[in-house]
Point group: C2
């Protein structure tokens, strides 16, 4: 018999996750892929679990386009929501913080604490805004790697990420081949296809066309390009869902009435419209338009094949084990894109596992709680095997 | 041996197609699905070929969202472009104007001559603008049917249309079951799915958010919501293409250079971006934003199942022969939607042919010249059989 009152005890301070920040590139600025330099760079990150004495149990989570470092848990007892991957990261969960030390950092150019367009430009004393340098996935990974170095971790047990996060994982394996024991790539590709560029382009156009955007100089007067940013999010959100899931969830259901109103001014007559408006509205509360432009463009620019000749030459140098996961109804990164990565890895003799998971939820499936047990069943044994073969194996080899 | 000079002779006046217009509902106004009335209604249309003495060879072409009555030919020797289905309609073509009398009319609420928001509201003396009544696919078909009556045609050999045009054909068969010998439905469905509503909604949002839109009152000062309308078109255009066709045509090719510029201000760096901007720009030259809002909403509202209980009960009264065509890569109206219509028609014992055509061109395949021979091979014999069985057959039965 368990003592029920124990679980009703008020949470302790230690139950909450802390936002951490570190300043890097304060001595020597970072040279970006564009050739421009930036420094210092503040990196906001969160960690979960404990780093082992051998510093061999660290997992880096690369967040997607509009994610942030707050991957799991709550900062404060009053927080309404937990981190964005709370069902996947924590004690006893897939990224088991009883065993692993999990790190997640906001990306360079982001707007959740890491240096980005909303940060103060030290040369002008005002926010960078549109003058923030152009960034690439490679630049994002450079900064993440610098954080990992700063934390004294020579080699990660794994880097894991979905979508733009998956691109970061691929880039990491290409750029720092010895720094990963494994790489987990979810719902991603070696490059964004033309349709993906097209959707990013119309989203950015919505921001550019908003008169409040003012060529990116909108921080001063407090009026952000809310319409444009919300619309960009609404468009993008459609691409994160599958036709099947929208149909199941909303279909042609009306929002407020059983009867059509025949009123053109009614913008949210169908539930799907109301849902998209809600998504847009929520998004502008937490995201910055200049950041959105930067990070979507970084995604457009990512091309492992163009930058390194081929996927095989990009990933041929690492001995990391790979787990590549696609979702059946993901049309932003169709399974074909994952297969291309897997084929190249196999051709260069890499250790790679591949799964196409059956989910109705489209691209966002890797973020949806109900779909995570399926992913957990792949990731948990993959990490265990990685730890046994790459960490314990290494230790016993070197002993 | 042919006399080559004959084909080099200058075109005669009769080689050019004439825009025609008729005023309907001038005695009694039209009561719309919304309950509002409108009248008179001017209908702009074009005809090709000659109506047979028995008036039994007429084919009505229902145009899609942004089409118009100018389905084939040129109005003037200096016209740069022929009508939108020129490769499909004409002497010896699929809709063979040596044999058939082809009619196409601009839709109610449109902006190419038929009464719509840009027309003068007789009660105010100024353009209707946003006060134009809400219209539905049913209203559009009512007006088309009134035009056909006006032309003295009791029964059409066929109504044919793709996308919103296909919806009109379905509605026509449901609403006027005795008026069609056949119905040809291309790349359409019995209703728009939630994803389709979502894309229309974000397109409309782009227009609403354009400050030049001024709640639709923008005709006076000559500045139209060009940004918003262009963006709406850019978004929609992505849905008309397939991932495969965009990838083949554009991929990640750059527009002006071999090198990435790392310049966020460069909105058309990739060819696909430049292409979409071009499409947007072209579109605003020929289309009106208030019309776009109206006609996309008519498309959202269309639901043969909701309006008539089921597809079977909607289409069970007509004895028209059906030809239903879907395209493999059409993701706006996936083949599943055509199958649903076909299944219902079969269950009610209708005469229906179905084909899923293999094309890389997505939803727009029915408009693309290279894909038309494939459609021609279905439509030509279908029309011949229809004529033999439904027209000649009828005549010999009644004689």
């Amino acid at each position: 018999m368990t003592i029920e009152t124990a679980s009703a005890a008020p949470p302790k301070e230690s139950d909450f996750v802390q936002r951490q920040a570190v300043t890097l590139y304060d001595q020597h600025p970072l040279t970006l892929a564009s050739g421009r330099t930036i420094g210092p760079v503040t990196v906001t990150f969160q960690t979960y679990g404990d780093l082992s004495p051998n510093r061999d149990n660290a997992i880096f989570v690369c967040h997607a386009l509009t994610g942030d470092a707050h991957v799991a848990g709550r900062h404060h007892p009053d927080d309404r929501k937990s981190g964005w991957w709370d069902a996947f990261v924590g004690p006893g969960k897939a990224l088991d913080t009883n065993r692993y030390f999990v790190i997640c950092a906001n990306v360079l150019g982001g707007c959740q604490g890491t240096t980005g367009p909303t940060s103060i430009n030290p040369e002008t004393g005002v926010p960078w805004g549109p003058d923030f340098p152009f960034i690439t996935v490679s630049d994002i990974v450079t900064v993440h790697k610098a954080l990992v170095d700063h934390l004294g971790i020579e080699r990660l047990l794994a880097a894991i990420g979905g979508s733009l996060g998956g691109m970061q994982v691929l880039e990491w394996a290409a750029r720092y081949p010895d720094s990963l024991a494994s790489a987990i790539v979810l719902a991603a590709g070696a490059k964004l296809n033309a349709q993906g560029i097209a959707f990013n382009a119309v989203g950015r156009r919505a921001i550019y066309a908003d008169p409040a955007f003012k060529s990116g100089h909108y921080y001063g007067d407090g009026e952000a390009p809310r319409f444009g940013l919300a619309l960009a999010r609404m468009i993008a959100h459609i691409t994160y869902l599958s036709e099947q899931s929208i149909e199941l969830k909303f279909g042609r259901k009306l929002q407020h009435s059983d009867e059509l109103t025949y009123d053109l001014a009614k913008e949210t007559e169908f539930q799907i419209e109301s849902y998209l408006h809600y998504q847009g509205k929520q998004f502008v509360e937490r995201f910055d338009a200049n950041s959105y432009l930067l990070v979507t463009r970084a995604m457009d620019y990512f091309d492992l094949i163009e930058s390194r000749g081929s996927i095989a030459s990009a990933l041929g140098k690492t001995d990391a084990r790979f787990l590549v996961v696609a979702y059946t109804t993901d049309w932003l990164f169709p399974t074909q894109q994952s297969r291309e990565i897997v084929r190249s890895l196999m051709e260069t003799g890499r250790d790679v596992s591949f799964a196409e998971l059956d989910s109705p939820y489209g691209h966002d499936a890797f973020l949806i709680d109900s779909e995570l047990p399926m992913l957990d069943r792949l990731v948990t044994p993959f990490l265990e095997t990685t730890y046994r073969s790459k960490v314990e194996g290494r230790r016993s080899n070197s002993s």
